[in-house]
């Protein structure tokens, strides 16, 4: 009797383990509000969209710092590499690139940038090879990011250091570019 009970328990624990693993690995494939979808709710693909201020009253993307002003852009590499350009004010700012599932792949901040503006070209393997063969004139000033996959999310954040910079910050987020830059 006790032997059968132990066997039953063992069976339950093992099956539960399988259910657990299948669920955890299955969630990302079936999620309907992953970061890609969340960002898509705020605007079209291929442009930077300024995020509403994190104040609890307006819908925004979870996890964003209320101390920062943000703009996000979903991009797809089908029409060529993506050129990301921004000139934020002289405070802390960062540009972060996330993959299709919202995991961080690449990023730099205003110190890493060295100069005052961000100018980045996101390209897949084939496009990087094409760029090497046929380099555009401005290639030296560009940061090239070798991208795995077809899609990604760019997040541009600017620190709200002082209220007097708010207009300049908003203008920089609005003017930020995130557009396909076809080769050749």
């Amino acid at each position: 009797m006790i032997g059968r009970a132990i066997l039953w328990l063992l069976g339950v624990v093992m099956t539960a383990g399988i259910v657990h693993i299948v669920t955890v690995f299955g969630v990302p494939g079936h999620a309907t509000n992953d970061p890609w979808e969340e960002v898509g709710k705020f605007g079209p693909t291929g442009v930077f969209v300024a995020m509403p201020r994190v104040d609890g009253a307006t819908r925004t993307i979870p996890g964003l710092d209320p101390a920062m002003a943000q703009a996000t852009c979903r991009f797809v590499l089908d029409q060529g590499p993506i050129r990301i350009k921004a000139t934020p004010p002289d405070v802390y700012w960062s540009l972060s690139l996330y993959d299709r599932s919202g995991l961080h792949v690449w990023g730099f901040d205003n110190r890493g940038a060295g100069q005052k503006s961000a100018d980045v070209l996101v390209a897949d393997d084939v496009q990087v090879a094409q760029l090497r063969e046929n380099p555009p004139e401005e290639l030296e000033d560009l940061v090239i990011v070798d991208w795995k996959g077809r899609e990604g999310i760019a997040l541009l954040q600017v620190f709200r250091q002082q209220p007097s910079l708010a207009r300049e910050t908003d203008a920089a987020l609005k003017a930020a570019e995130c557009r396909p830059a076809p080769l050749g």
């Binding site: 669920t23 509000n33 609890g56 979870p62 996000t72």
Partner: protein, 189 residues
């Protein structure tokens, strides 16, 4: 008949256990967190190192987090004595600035709602903080306006404090833990 019942019970229990434990692990950051005093460092969400629980959690919440190269996020929902942070109480945070080019301190109440000043400020940061001669700071956490370094708390309920360090040399994996502000409860209403 008994066998069939036993099999059904086994299947039902496995489903409840399996789904329940999966939900528990995904609902909040449970893996890769590091305790620093009463604070907890959240795992960074790098594509190269994220574990399946982090991936599943992000897919469900849709949140955008911080990558390893960018900085660290610390959260705490309790004061130094282990009691939940509540809108009905005031708190005193004291300490020194953790090493980072920029850090921001915010609150997150229900529905991720931050506490806001009437002017709409939700944060305190190391650039605009008042300190004493030794570099120590004192922050008051309250729903009501306070003199000095005032961090607005959410209007009601319990909440979480979020400390984000940007561009920090601190590497938690090497066991190098920062000194984070100590939280003491003051008067309650």
């Amino acid at each position: 008949m008994r066998f069939l019942l036993s099999l059904l019970a086994a299947m039902a229990s496995s489903l409840v256990l399996g789904l329940g434990s999966a939900w528990y692990m995904i609902a909040a950051p449970r893996t890769g967190t590091i305790d620093v005093g009463t604070w907890q460092a959240l795992p960074t969400i790098d594509a190269s190192t994220a574990d399946p629980y982090v991936r599943a959690r992000i897919a469900r919440s849709g949140e955008i987090g911080m990558g390893g190269g960018e900085g660290l996020v610390f959260v705490t929902g309790v004061d130094g004595r282990g009691d939940s942070l509540s809108a009905t109480c005031d708190y005193r945070l004291s300490g020194r600035s953790p090493t980072a080019r920029l850090w921001t301190l915010t609150t997150e109440g229900e529905g991720r709602r931050p506490g806001l000043t009437p002017e709409g400020r939700a944060h305190l940061d190391n650039r605009n903080l008042l300190r004493d001669g030794d570099g120590r700071f004192l922050i008051t956490l309250s729903t009501r306006a306070r003199p000095g370094n005032w961090l607005p708390a959410p209007a009601e309920g319990t909440y979480t404090l979020v400390l984000r360090l940007y561009d920090t040399p601190i590497a938690l994996a090497s066991g190098q833990l920062p000194d984070l502000p100590v939280i003491e409860r003051e008067a309650c209403r």
